[in-house]
């Protein structure tokens, strides 16, 4: 699957060059050059981080996801098809690692970034600032109440701007299930956020 609509699209010529380099890196790794993987880590850490940040909702978890993603990617690299796009492949692993982390967080409930309201608009007045912080906290709480698949599906569709087909493929579910997951997430978030919208 070629990723379309990426947040940070690259020029076509650079993309082709990168693809070629990706393949060389992978082949070097498979031939015993472990350090060749470093180039891939440097090239795709940012993309994986942003996706993970949107799904998990905080920087610390996103960074943990990036580490786990590249470790898992290295250990599975013998299954990687050289004709495929490494960026797409590692991105998919990153989404799965994000879902795994959300599951882990639900099993071990903790503060995880949603305990303290955080201001998002420092230029506004005190009342507006308070409401904004409350809205942000409410949003985090609402996201935390979604299932892992719902959270990932919503983030991919409405924050990563993936098509429904891509969402389904990334989550390894049917198109109908992907649509249902996104819609359930939207409905839950809408109900959770509705009281604050009225106040706002």
């Amino acid at each position: 699957m070629q990723l379309s609509g990426r947040p940070e699209p690259r020029p076509v010529s650079t993309l082709q060059l990168m693809d070629s380099t990706d393949r060389e890196c992978v082949e070097a790794v498979l031939n015993g050059d472990r350090d060749a993987y470093r180039d891939l880590v440097f090239r795709y850490s940012g993309i994986v981080f942003r996706a993970a940040r949107r799904i998990t909702g905080n920087d610390a978890d996103a960074e943990e996801v990036v580490q786990d993603t590249f470790l898992r990617g290295y250990l599975q690299i013998r299954n990687f098809e050289l004709r495929a796009d490494f960026g797409t492949w590692i991105y998919r692993i990153g989404v799965n690692c994000s879902i795994d982390l959300l599951r882990k967080r639900k099993r071990q409930p903790g503060p995880a970034g949603d305990a303290l309201p955080r201001a998002v608009d420092t230029a506004a007045g005190p009342e507006r600032l308070l409401l904004s912080a409350e809205l942000d906290w409410k949003r985090r709480t609402a996201m935390a109440r979604l299932t892992e698949v719902e959270a990932a599906a919503f983030s991919l569709r409405h924050m990563e701007d993936r098509s429904m087909n891509e969402v389904a493929e990334l989550l390894a579910i049917s198109l109908g299930s992907a649509k249902q997951a996104v819609f359930r997430a939207v409905q839950k978030l809408r109900r959770e956020m509705a009281p604050l919208k009225v106040k706002q």
Partner: protein
């Protein structure tokens, strides 16, 4: 007036369909719900646009964190050069490995227990015998009854043909006598009166035969058959033996 469903409003909020916008202008309720969807999706898009990038040095931190855990692969797509057990020692896999090992241990113990139980079923039966009267007697007395039956048949035949060499019969009767007394006492203790009675009658016959002169005369044999009702004793002995065989089969099942 037919209102939009939530799903229709959600779809509408992503792609403005002019043919449906007329209803939204006329229906404040649907418009309010529609605006909720639009606000939610705009908020999500705004958050996505404002998602902070990683802190400086992310790539270095990731590389330093994972580098020690990376095995070196061999040429082509062969197995990694590192030990096959290497990956088992990573924390997450270690937990799975431990769980699997525990499962194997529990499964093996369960299987061994079942095997042990099956192999010791016979001894368990013997140990349980005191709780079921007659079980010990049932297991050990069968051979004694078979030998006694053969002796009685020989005596019966000897009586019918009025001749017998009592030497072998006397020795056999003498051998059986001691065992017969022991089994009779056991039958009494095991509360098996039918068997005890048969063994008691058999005891008297065995005493007679064991102490008879070397050559039994036809008159002696006839008297013994008549007085001791050898035919009746033989019949009762067969009945008791058959009953015990049946009981043993039932207990096996």
């Amino acid at each position: 007036m037919k209102h939009f469903s939530d799903e229709e409003l959600y779809v509408l909020s992503q792609s403005a369909e002019s043919s449906r916008e007329g209803h939204l202008r006329e229906c404040p309720e649907c418009l309010a719900r529609y605006q909720e969807f639009v606000a939610l999706l705009e908020s999500a898009a705004a958050r996505a646009a404002g998602t902070p990038g990683p802190a400086p040095g992310l790539e270095d931190r990731v590389w330093m964190a994972i580098h020690p855990s990376l095995p070196v692969y061999g040429a082509g797509r062969e197995a990694p050069r590192t030990s096959g057990l290497f990956h088992l020692w990573r924390p997450r896999r270690l937990a799975w490995t431990g769980a699997f090992a525990a499962l194997v241990v529990v499964g093996t113990a369960f299987w061994a227990g079942r095997l042990f139980e099956r192999r010791h079923a016979a001894s368990n039966l013997a140990l349980e015998a005191p709780a079921q009267p007659g079980r010990v007697v049932l297991l050990v007395v069968r051979e004694h009854l078979d030998r006694s039956e053969r002796l009685l048949v020989e005596l019966d035949h000897a009586g019918r043909f009025a001749r017998a060499e009592s030497g072998p019969l006397a020795r056999e009767a003498s051998d059986l006598l001691e065992d017969n007394r022991l089994y009779r006492q056991t039958a009494v203790a095991s509360k098996d009166p039918a068997l005890a009675e048969v063994l008691d009658r058999l005891d008297r016959v065995l005493v007679e035969v064991a102490h008879e002169p070397a050559a039994l005369q036809g008159s002696d044999l006839a008297r013994m058959r008549e007085q001791m009702n050898l035919d009746g004793l033989l019949f009762e002995l067969r009945v008791v033996r058959d009953r015990q065989n049946k009981t043993e089969k039932d207990s096996r099942l």
